[in-house]
């Protein structure tokens, strides 16, 4: 009996685990479909099927090990990349967030204009001869009327019950709705247009206020255009997610919608001077920043490693101290450095006895960025080069020394070349990392300084990723489509560098 239980226990546990996994996933699927997130729902559904087939059959044993990784890779790496690529082909910016059908609905809603006098009424909602109606009062001018969707009946005040504010609350043939009924009629109250005069109607603003208005913009579905009923102007789909005035393309209706514009953003990166010029400047600085960072971090790390390679007194203490910047959370270090570089109160100006505006001057800001990154990154290279130097056979140096080579020659001709051979893939990886070092730039300088008065769009220390962030989220006009296109370019650059690094390190060779 006990033996049977133990024999089946792994299977029982497996099914319990699978059942729980399915329960959670089914919950997410239902939630996703309920929120109309069909892509997420469909992915989760496929994941459930894949999990069921993989773990409830013996179709493929290796897949049992790979499936979780494949699913997570798909959800958190491949999915976002594909989404970014797709979004880069859309006009997706402030004013163009919603779908076309939603935009049409909202333009219609906004295409209403009040009458010149901005006439409003106090209203009571109810029924008149079994029709949905309002009893409207203009208490100032002592005008009273009942209006349904099809007729308006002007009333004399002596036929009405009027409250202390001059608002009619009762009339014969008119039955006011109770407050509970009003709550139930909300949608009707918001959408019904009550007869007023000619094109004008009374629309309700809540349940007790009516405003006189008329429809100015009308959507003609058969021709997919809006027509201004007052001046006759026509607004047609401009192919970039807005209805634009046929006679004046600059005059667009808002809101617009997310519209496919295919490769327009990529073409803008090349053709549009206002996009290309700052992007090119930022790209050049990004390369310089990443290169200088790697160079200075490696140089200082190596220098310290060489120094610490000698048997000096207190070496262990020094080693611990040198690793401290690496051990500290970088966000904290960056913020502290930011304070130290403050012009008025910073420790650096106080120590130097200067009043350098570190973050207001482009050159100083760039120097500050490199310095802070040097502080943050040199311990890493210190650790790497220390380890790598241990791997270089000491016989080589000894043989060279016997042959009469000076320590400098030994370092330049033996140690450094061998060291570079070992650490080159890491230098490449570090370059790729710093190419995207968003935290440092965002927290230290915010990409600045940027002289708005000179028309600068990108800041002096902006790197591609911080510049992309600004385009996507950093201003009043958030251009997520353009930011996606730049992100795709960054991805291609980083992927290429990483691939080169992987090849250089011959990591893939071990799999072949």
């Amino acid at each position: 009996m006990l033996e049977n239980i133990f024999r089946h226990l792994p299977k029982v546990l497996k099914y319990v685990f699978l059942a729980l996994t399915f329960s959670i996933l089914v919950m997410f699927i239902q939630s996703a479909f309920a929120k109309k997130e069909y892509e997420i729902g469909a992915f989760l559904l496929l994941a459930v099927i894949a999990i069921a087939i993989t773990y409830l059959t013996n179709l493929s044993i290796p897949l049992k090990f790979f499936l979780p990784g494949i699913l997570f890779l798909s959800a958190f790496v491949i999915g976002p990349i594909l989404y970014t690529v797709v979004m880069s082909t859309f006009q997706y910016q402030t004013g163009n967030y919603i779908s076309k059908s939603q935009a049409i609905e909202r333009v219609q809603m906004l295409g209403i204009a009040p009458d010149e006098a901005n006439t409003t009424f106090d209203v009571v909602v109810g029924t008149y001869k079994n029709q949905f109606a309002i009893l409207a009062s203009d208490s100032l001018n002592k005008r009273y009327l009942i209006s349904t969707t099809s007729e308006r009946i002007d009333l004399a005040s002596d036929l009405l019950t009027i409250n202390e504010n001059g608002v009619a609350i009762k009339s014969s043939d008119f039955s006011p709705a109770t407050s509970d009924e009003i709550a139930g009629l909300d949608r009707q109250i918001s959408t019904t247009r009550f007869k007023y005069d000619g094109d004008y109607f009374i629309m309700l603003e809540g349940s007790s206020v009516g405003a006189v208005a008329r429809q100015v913009l009308n959507y003609k579905a058969s021709e997919d255009k809006f027509i201004n009923l007052v001046d006759g102007s026509q607004f047609v789909d401009n192919g970039r997610g807005n209805y634009a005035n046929a006679g004046n393309p600059e005059d667009i209706l808002q809101p617009g919608w997310r519209s496919p514009i295919w490769f327009s953003h990529y073409l803008d990166l090349v053709k549009d001077e206002s996009v290309r010029s700052p992007l090119f400047t930022v790209f050049i600085w990004t390369v310089i920043f990443a290169f200088l960072t790697v160079l200075t971090q490696f140089a200082l790390g190596l220098l310290v490693a060489i120094a610490m390679n000698k048997p000096i007194w207190g070496r262990r203490v020094y080693r611990s101290i040198f690793i401290l910047p690496y051990a500290m959370p970088s966000i904290m270090s960056i913020l502290i450095w930011g304070g130290m570089f403050n012009t008025e109160f910073g420790a650096i100006n106080a120590l130097l006895g200067t009043d350098i505006a570190w973050f207001q001057n482009a050159t100083f800001a760039r120097v500050a960025v490199i310095m802070v990154n040097l502080w943050l990154g040199f311990p890493y290279f210190y650790l790497i080069t220390s380890g790598a130097m241990q791997a270089i056979p000491s016989e080589l140096s000894e043989a060279a020394a016997i042959d009469g080579a000076s320590p400098r020659q030994i370092f330049a001709r033996i140690t450094l070349p061998l060291l570079l051979k070992i650490v080159t893939p890491l230098l490449i990886a570090s370059f790729a990392f710093n190419f995207n070092n968003f935290n440092l730039i965002y927290l230290l300088t915010g990409g600045g300084p940027r002289n708005e008065l000179d028309g600068q769009i990108a800041g002096a220390t902006d790197i591609l990723i911080s510049y992309t962030y600004k385009i996507a989220f950093g201003s009043n006009i958030q251009d997520l489509g353009l930011a996606s296109a730049i992100s795709v370019i960054i991805f291609i650059i980083i992927a290429s560098i990483s691939l080169y690094g992987v090849r250089k390190s011959k990591v893939l060779d071990s799999f072949s």
């Binding site: 009003i182 629309m203 007790s208 206002s274």
Partner: protein, 420 residues
Amino acid sequence: MQKKLIAKGLASTLVLALVAGLNIVPAQAADKELVVWADETRGPNLTKVFAAKGDWVSGYKITVKSFSSFDALKDAVDKATDLTGPDIIVGANDWVPTGAKNGKLAPITLPASVKARFTANNFFDLSYKGSLYGVPLDINNVAMVYNEELVKNAPKTLGEMVNYYKANKDKKKLAAGLCIAGGGTSWGAHSVLSALGGAAYRMKNGAVDSSKAPIDPADLAKNIKTYLLDANGKSNGFFPATDTGCKDNYLDGKVPFAIIGNWEWQDYMGRGFQMNLMPVPGVKAGSYGTMFGSVSGAMLTSYAAKRGVEAGAKDLLINFFASTAGATAYQSIELRPPAEKGAQSKVEFTAQQNFGKAASKAGIPQIGAILNGTTGSKSYWDLLPAFWTAVLVNGRDPLTEATKMNNYFVKNITAGVKDL
């Protein structure tokens, strides 16, 4: 045996999955519920007010969702969809142009009787392209405070303030003469720009005066050279280009004049400072630098219509947020200066009243459609700090920089007035 076991396992798995799935699906909101989103201070206070009296709109239950910070609220608003969005958002005025462009906000027409409860200027910020998107809630403005320990009498001109600073800079170890403690070097510093003769835009008879440029570059440059720069064209230290440390310096008695926000007066009074509030004096006696008066608003969303509660949401805006009773009940806890006139008259704090007096002397509406800039231009929010940096830090020629800034301002006014 193996197949049976798998079949049983599958069956039990699916049953369990369905049962769990059905049970754990989040409950849908009640049909007639009005959902209000607010930040970490306004949210809990609104919850308290609605808990004390919840029948502002009969037949609807009012639910307030509080966010951990203003940024968290903004983030949630940005990500809101038809299915997840609220019916009313209590937020910043400058969300209106973006919210309207993105179709997240819905217009509301207020009757004249309700509009009369507010100053006409209050509606500028909550409007976009002729439509109003909410009701004003509380007023945000700045004013200049002076330290009575250092300066005995209220200054009459900017020159008087500069002279005091120059005479006492070393003797009293002053860190600056006038600095921005509240509102930043763009929003809070408009009164300084204006005291020196410039402006983001000028108002005439309650409307934006687009007939002439907001800045006379030669005049502004002359005043900057006279009051803010030394003989070598470098900053004389009277007005720093940054707001860093200003509040601490004022509280430490190292700055005689500071521009502070009406949301922070308790910090100053708590340290024993009097609220000697006034607008920044201009270069001529009797003239003052104009300062922005903006409002936070309760804004109607387009999601309310989607959820079938638009009428209820509009009723809540009119019956509660735009009413004397509602504004008084709310501001008695929130302690911000109410926008509603009836509630204003019930304000008891002298500091709030003094901010109001300063604003009535030299307040101008904050018009996001102009200040936020337009495609191909720059926003006022970026331009003015850049101007201070260029002139006071980098030593650039004030005339050249003022001319550049004026050109952008003119462009923004031309584009912005079309959106009003």
